[in-house]
């Protein structure tokens, strides 16, 4: 079953995305900041990461930089889910291997799920059914 890691400090957002993804059939891990996110990543390598930028303790860009250093993580697709979306930020993130960028106020949770599907395909429903 495909695993998604959500690194997002805003609990409402995190829960909404989690709910939608689980409904769709994904396995979801969550982390409330970058630090926790890195730990969770190491415990169980995800198939895709949804990453916020501005977070306490460790922000999204720091997470990306850490991931770049580790061959094990540098290939995991990352979709940024942020309040901001300035072109300079997007460019900077792309240089750090980010696949896509979602501005929260311009999307809704359903569209986030659609993006996930675009990048890694539907969840492995068979596994899901077995579960």
């Amino acid at each position: 079953m495909k695993k998604i890691l959500i690194i997002e400090d805003e609990k409402i957002i995190r829960n909404l995305i989690k709910k939608k993804l689980i409904e769709r059939g994904y396995n979801v891990q969550e982390a409330e900041n970058g630090e926790v996110g890195m730990v969770k990543m190491k415990e169980d390598k995800p198939d895709l990461i949804l990453l916020d930028i501005i977070m306490p303790k460790m922000g999204g860009f720091d997470v990306l930089r850490e991931m770049q250093k580790d061959d094990n993580f540098s290939n995991i697709p990352v979709v940024i889910v942020s309040n901001s979306g300035q072109p300079v930020e997007i460019d900077k993130a792309k240089e750090l291997g980010v696949e896509d960028w979602i501005i929260k106020t311009e999307f809704d949770p359903r569209e986030v799920v659609d993006k996930v599907v675009d990048h890694i395909g539907e969840p492995d429903l068979k596994n899901n059914q077995n579960q």
Binding site: I13, L16, I54, T105, D108, R110
Partner: protein
């Protein structure tokens, strides 16, 4: 004769007779009136000239009392008295009365005659001095005239002298005043809080005040007397000189911003100085705006951060409501219609809040000068069609409103634009047209004007009051009639649109009549292949 010779007495008489004749002839010949007077003042003898002068015949004159001949009785009497007493010669100026009772100015001389018996009378000569007097009077007059003239000349000279002195005094005074003014002006320039430089008509720098020295780290003595070309070789002055140097002369600048480096901004104004139509030179006024720029930056950053912070709860609300509504539609019966309407209203209000925050963010980016980002070459129709599709639906859903797209051609030259931003402009025009039109038609037209593509949106809406039209593109401006109408709006849309269009070297404008409708338009220069992208500087 012989007889006479022989008779001495006869000889003597003859001699006397000769003498008398001689004296008579002499007297008659003399050009002066002459008479002989006895001690009783009676005339005994006169000569010819006396007759001519007085008009009296000899026979009339002889026996006349001499004092009756003159106007001045007292004078003649005193003269006679004097001659009798002194027995010598006495002279006086008197006036003779002629037989015709005319008066003649005369000089009178009397000479006493004496014999052994004493005083026997006197001779009197009377000389006509009419001419002499006339000459004298004339000369006196002439003299008086000349004297007067001389006096006048002297007075004139005196006047000129004092006038000259006055002038000199005035000149001295004006010189002192000018000197005072000059020092005052110099002191003002020296102590002026802003930088000042003055270039003469030949573009040679003549004045640099201390503040300008500070700004450019120069010394007046090193830079004055040099022209623009020479000055541009000074590393610290180069940017200023390039900034003010126009087409062969100093450009007209009004409060133009000159960035020296990240921490130093100046505002430059140039003023041509003219006197009686003659160009004397150009004054460069240099104002430090670093502090303003810093505050502006802090403000922009604040707005940017605040807007980001606002977005977080707004997206939380948005996502929650969205999910809520979705589930309501899935599980009917959980909420009744009124409840669903309320949630929908909350969602819409939140959306407006999101838009407002987005507008604020855009404005702060415009002010930071980093708004237009990625220009790309696009076909205007490919770019517009998806936007128009969305709006066609939205407009046709509104009662009494119709939408028409008016293309003069099937294809247009390509433009190089930041498509997302130009999209914002088109959407802003269409949003306004829909918002402020209750009934009628909205027409979007695309056409070509010279080397520009012109896109316009015409409505039949409320229009803009004439007196408020010039403020329409101001930040946060909303016309009174639309505020009354209570339609949502931040007053930022057209401000953002104007900045976007101008960053693309396009023009934005409108025509409007209150109560009849408006037409808003903007232009985009067509992309000419090789030409360097016109917004790459962003």
């Amino acid at each position: 004769m012989t007889e006479k010779e022989t008779n001495p007495k006869n000889d003597m008489v003859d001699d006397l007779e000769d003498l008398k004749n001689y004296t008579d002839e002499l007297a008659d010949f003399l050009p002066v009136a002459f008479c002989v007077v006895n001690p009783l003042n009676c005339i005994l003898e006169v000569n010819n000239f006396f007759e001519v002068l007085s008009g009296y015949e000899k026979v009339e004159a002889v026996g006349k009392r001499v004092e009756n001949l003159f106007l001045e009785r007292e004078e003649i009497n005193s003269l006679i008295e004097e001659v009798k007493k002194e027995k010598g010669k006495v002279e006086k100026e008197l006036t003779l009365i002629t037989k015709k009772e005319e008066t003649v100015p005369v000089d009178v001389s009397a000479l006493a005659r004496e014999s052994e018996d004493g005083f026997v009378g006197f001779f009197l000569t009377i000389m006509d001095v009419t001419e002499k007097r006339e000459i004298e009077v004339k000369m006196e007059r002439e003299l008086a005239k000349k004297t007067k003239e001389l006096e006048e000349k002297a007075k004139q000279m005196e006047d000129s002298r004092s006038a000259l002195l006055n002038i000199l005094e005035d000149v001295d005074k004006s010189y002192k005043e000018a000197e005072k003014e000059r020092s005052k002006t110099a002191a003002i320039i020296e102590n002026f809080i802003d930088g000042m430089m003055f270039f003469g008509a030949d573009h040679v720098l003549s004045i640099v005040n201390p503040k300008a020295e500070d700004f450019f780290d120069i010394k007046a003595r090193d830079v004055t007397g040099r022209d623009l070309r020479e000055l541009s070789t000074f590393p610290t002055l180069k940017s200023l000189i390039n900034f003010i140097k126009g087409d062969g002369k100093i450009a007209d600048l009004f409060r133009e911003e000159l960035k020296i480096n990240e921490d130093f901004y100046l505002e430059i104004t140039t003023t041509g100085i003219e006197e009686d139509g003659e160009h004397l030179g150009t004054l460069i006024h240099i104002h430090d705006i670093t502090r303003e720029k810093r505050i502006e930056k802090i403000k922009s950053e604040f707005v940017s951060v605040a807007a980001h912070q606002l977005r977080t709860p707004l997206s939380g609300i948005k996502w929650t409501l969205e999910t809520f509504l979705e589930e309501v539609s899935e599980e009917k019966g959980k909420l009744n219609e009124d409840e669903e309407t309320l949630i929908r209203k909350a969602y819409d209000a939140n959306e407006r809040m999101v838009n407002l925050v987005n507008d604020l963010l855009n404005v702060s980016r415009i002010e930071e000068g980093r708004y237009i980002y990625e220009p790309e070459v696009v076909d205007i129709l490919d770019f517009l069609n998806p936007i128009l599709e969305t709006y066609k639906e939205a407009i046709e859903n509104k009662d009494n409103l119709s939408f028409k797209v008016n293309k003069v051609k099937d294809s247009f030259p390509k433009v190089k634009i930041d498509a997302e931003k130009i999209g914002i402009v088109v959407q802003n025009f269409l949003d306004n047209a829909i918002k402020y039109t209750d009934e009628g038609e909205v027409v979007l037209s695309i056409n070509m004007i010279d080397d520009n593509i012109r896109i316009s949106v015409q409505d039949e809406g409320v229009g803009i009051p004439e007196e408020q039209q010039e403020r329409l593109f101001n930040k946060f401006f909303r016309a009174e009639n639309v505020i009354r109408k209570d339609v949502e709006g931040s007053g930022l849309g057209l401000f953002i649109a104007k900045n976007i269009v101008e960053a693309h070297n396009g023009e934005i404008g409108f025509e409007s009549t209150e109560g009849e409708g408006s037409i808003f338009y903007f232009t985009l220069p067509i992309h000419k292949g090789k030409e360097k992208g016109f917004i790459e500087e962003f």
